[in-house]
């Protein structure tokens, strides 16, 4: 009783929500993280509300059910656009602000006005437990059988880096792991913390349509350079914020996200100062030289930030008179690795804000044949197809420690990742 009374008093604390991000919702969820009345939890165990944002794929439904059941009681689900297999969940439209509904749900739960949602799945292991002892020991076979969750403790190959011979362990990560782009599912085999192999199971969701729409329109009608460049700056800042989160620079990540929101709303922002703070933090030193280096022919086909970070000044904007009048010149960096891509994002964000300020709302541009979006040249079909090179970005993860692997993935935008995939990662599973 005393705890429930105290809980009623405590519900004004920030709501802890775990976001399960679907199509077209990544930017919106990123912007939510700037609100101090909300905490986006890193683990479902740390949340009271499951926020299902955007449209999910059918293939993600079972993962969502497992995710739901990991939230501790009392728990609730808020569907923000799209649908959800959780019965009795509250919902708001994707265009609406979900924060009032999130607060109401959390308060209702802790004040006892709303029942906690029951499990969606039976609480039993997905595979039978074959070990005899409590910890998997015993059983049949040379190594005590194959109890659930354990491999034969003989590594298939020597550790790729430090020579240690540890048990290999295979697990599937995604599609809701916050460190990965929304929708991306990988099957990873580790030895210790070193990745032995990685396989793409499901591709990430494509860039949000509302952010890409002005760039599509600029092919058919003149669009405001200021608006386009502010969207570009916001995208780069959000990407950078994700990398900074991985590097435990939460305060700087928050500043990046706040600045991204301000860029979209057209406020005056000082990106140069923010970038100086990022440099001072040592963020660039975190990526070892050569980490995640992209082969030149792959970068050439991916285009955009990945290509310019490989030293090639290729940018559709350079061919546009309107941009030339503003003094635009493509920024490039040598290396083609994680560090170069981070630098590229930082400097292009700064450049985009300057261009937006110089152009104001008067300067408009219409692209002739192709448009340079924040995710590189927009595809004519509207969807990002795997590149002709057949390059698989998971090859870059082999031999990396977990954090390094996450840095490699985070240093690409979702469009680049979608292009660096095998033709058919897991047939039928990637369809939205």
């Amino acid at each position: 009783m005393a705890v429930s009374r105290l809980a009623s008093w405590a519900v004004t604390a920030p709501v802890a929500a775990f976001p399960a991000v679907g199509a077209d919702a990544a930017d919106r969820v990123c912007d939510l993280a700037t609100d101090p009345s909300l905490t986006l939890a890193r683990s479902p165990r740390h949340a009271s509300v499951l926020l299902v944002a955007g449209q999910l794929r059918d293939a993600d439904a079972s993962a969502l059910c497992r995710l739901h059941d990991q939230l501790p009681h009392p728990r609730a689900t808020l569907v923000w656009g799209g649908g959800s297999p959780v019965p009795g969940s509250a919902s708001v439209a994707l265009e609406d602000d979900p924060r009032p509904a999130l607060c109401d749900l959390a308060r209702g739960l802790f004040r006892g006005e709303r029942d906690s949602e029951p499990d969606l799945l039976a609480n039993e292991p997905p595979n039978p437990w074959r070990g005899l002892g409590d910890f998997g020991q015993g059983g049949q076979g040379m190594m005590g059988g194959t109890p659930y969750g354990r491999m034969m403790p003989m590594p298939p190959q020597a550790d790729l880096r430090d020579g240690l011979m540890l048990d290999a362990y295979t697990a599937t990560v995604g599609p809701f792991l916050p460190t990965l782009p929304p929708g991306l599912v990988l099957e990873v085999t580790w030895q210790g913390d070193i990745i032995q192999s990685a396989r793409l199971v499901r591709v990430p969701f494509e860039p949000p349509r509302d952010a890409a729409a002005p760039f599509h329109r600029a092919l058919s009608e003149p669009g405001s350079i200021s608006v386009l460049e502010r969207i570009r700056a916001a995208n780069h800042l959000r990407c950078l914020a994700h990398v900074l989160e991985l590097l435990e620079l939460h305060r700087l990540a928050r500043r990046c996200r706040r600045t991204a929101v301000q860029a979209i709303t057209g406020e005056t922002i000082d990106v140069a100062r923010l970038m100086r703070a990022v440099r001072r933090s040592g963020a660039l030193a975190a990526a070892p030289p050569g980490l995640g280096r992209l082969p030149e022919e792959v970068a050439a086909e991916i285009g955009g930030v990945a290509r310019r970070a490989g030293g090639k000044p290729v940018d559709v904007r350079a061919r546009q008179r309107e941009y030339a009048d503003l003094g635009f010149e493509p920024i490039t960096h040598a290396g083609g690795d994680v560090r170069a891509r981070l630098l590229q994002w930082m400097e292009e964000a700064e450049q985009a804000v300057k261009l937006a300020e110089h152009a104001r709302l008067r300067e408009r541009v219409r692209f002739a044949h192709a448009v340079e979006s924040p995710w590189g040249p927009l595809p004519a079909t509207g969807h990002y197809e795997p590149s002709e090179t057949g390059f698989d970005f998971t090859d870059l993860l082999v031999g990396c420690e977990w954090l390094e692997a996450m840095l490699v993935v985070a240093s690409f935008d979702v469009a680049a990742l979608a292009r660096m995939t095998p033709r058919s990662p897991d047939p039928g599973l990637g369809e939205p």
Binding site: A10, S43, L249, E401
Partner: protein, 301 residues
């Protein structure tokens, strides 16, 4: 009677320190808004009202024992810090050694917490915490021995008394900076957060909720307070200071170190484990050894 007062004083220091550190963390992250003072208490109440999660076949004993053991280690570390002349709970001749044991056992407890959850990301976090924790511990031992040399004693009280002529931070600024690394590592914060970080979805804490998580988070802050009090005693003269009573000086100096630690948490990047290991073994340890050699020569001279 003195022991009872010391116990009450240390408990007060622990409670106020934990609360101050939680408030400082919140301010550093989102700024000083309305309700920031009560924020830690509200969070604690909500965690108490939450269910404690289970995983599939965890090592229950170690998983549940790790948070209280971590808290107990913080208390043990704090027990050797004197609040005033003669006011120390565990006035052992080898206080530095006891503190060293706290450091070593912290590594064990954090590893057990990650390992026993039977969860992949928690296990990765546990392994790499051990890898980083070991060299940091060695650095801190060199630094503490250097701080003990002028006192010619391993007792913390003697080290505080040896600073009447001048605080150790003035004579050994490098030692103080190196010692701060230990505080970040013991409580796995910012540049040394290899145990409970974002890239592993909360690491050793990724599977915990409710009272289990509350105890773990309090223990993390408690070990930070114990470290700050130890740094205040060894480098900032502990209870020594004009006008104010000794315990108040300890509290103020502990708060100052806490604020410094919170600032460092948000200011510097966390390197990938391999880069940090290289940095610690190639630069940190030799630097600590050279520091010890210089202090030793000064004392001999």
């Amino acid at each position: 009677m003195t022991a009872a007062f010391t116990l009450v004083g240390l408990l007060l220091l622990l409670a106020l320190g934990v609360w101050s550190a939680a408030v400082c963390d919140r301010v550093a992250l989102v700024g000083a808004g309305r309700g920031v003072i009560a924020h830690p208490l509200r969070q604690a109440v909500l965690l108490l009202a939450q269910q404690q999660n289970e995983t599939e076949r965890p090592d229950w004993l170690n998983w549940k024992l790790a948070p209280p053991l971590y808290l107990a280690l913080a208390a043990a570390g704090l027990s050797v810090v004197p609040l005033a002349p003669g006011a120390v709970l565990a006035d052992v001749d080898a206080g530095i050694v006891l503190w060293g044991a706290v450091e070593a056992l912290t590594v064990v407890v954090v590893f057990l917490h990650g390992w026993s959850a039977n969860s992949q990301l928690a296990l990765i976090a546990a392994y790499r915490y051990v890898a980083i924790g070991l060299p940091v511990m060695l650095v801190s031992m060199f630094v503490l021995i250097a701080a003990a040399l002028p006192a010619e004693s391993l007792a913390i009280s003697a080290i505080v008394e040896s600073q009447r002529a001048g605080w150790n931070i003035l004579g050994q600024p490098l030692g103080f900076v190196l010692f701060l690394l230990l505080g970040l590592s013991l409580s796995f914060r910012g540049p040394f957060n290899y145990a409970d970080s974002s890239d592993v979805a909360g690491g050793t804490a990724t599977e915990i909720s409710g009272a289990h998580r509350l105890t773990w988070e309090i223990a993390r802050l408690a070990i930070l307070v114990a470290f700050a009090a130890m740094a205040a005693a060894v480098f900032l003269g502990g209870y020594l200071g004009p006008l104010l009573p000794g315990p108040l000086w300890v509290f103020l100096k502990t708060l100052a170190v806490l604020a410094l630690m919170v600032a460092a948490t948000h200011a510097f990047v966390r390197l990938p484990p391999a880069r940090m290991l290289t940095l610690l073994w190639v630069a940190g340890l030799p630097l600590a050894f050279v520091h010890l050699a210089i202090v030793g020569l000064e004392v001999l001279g």
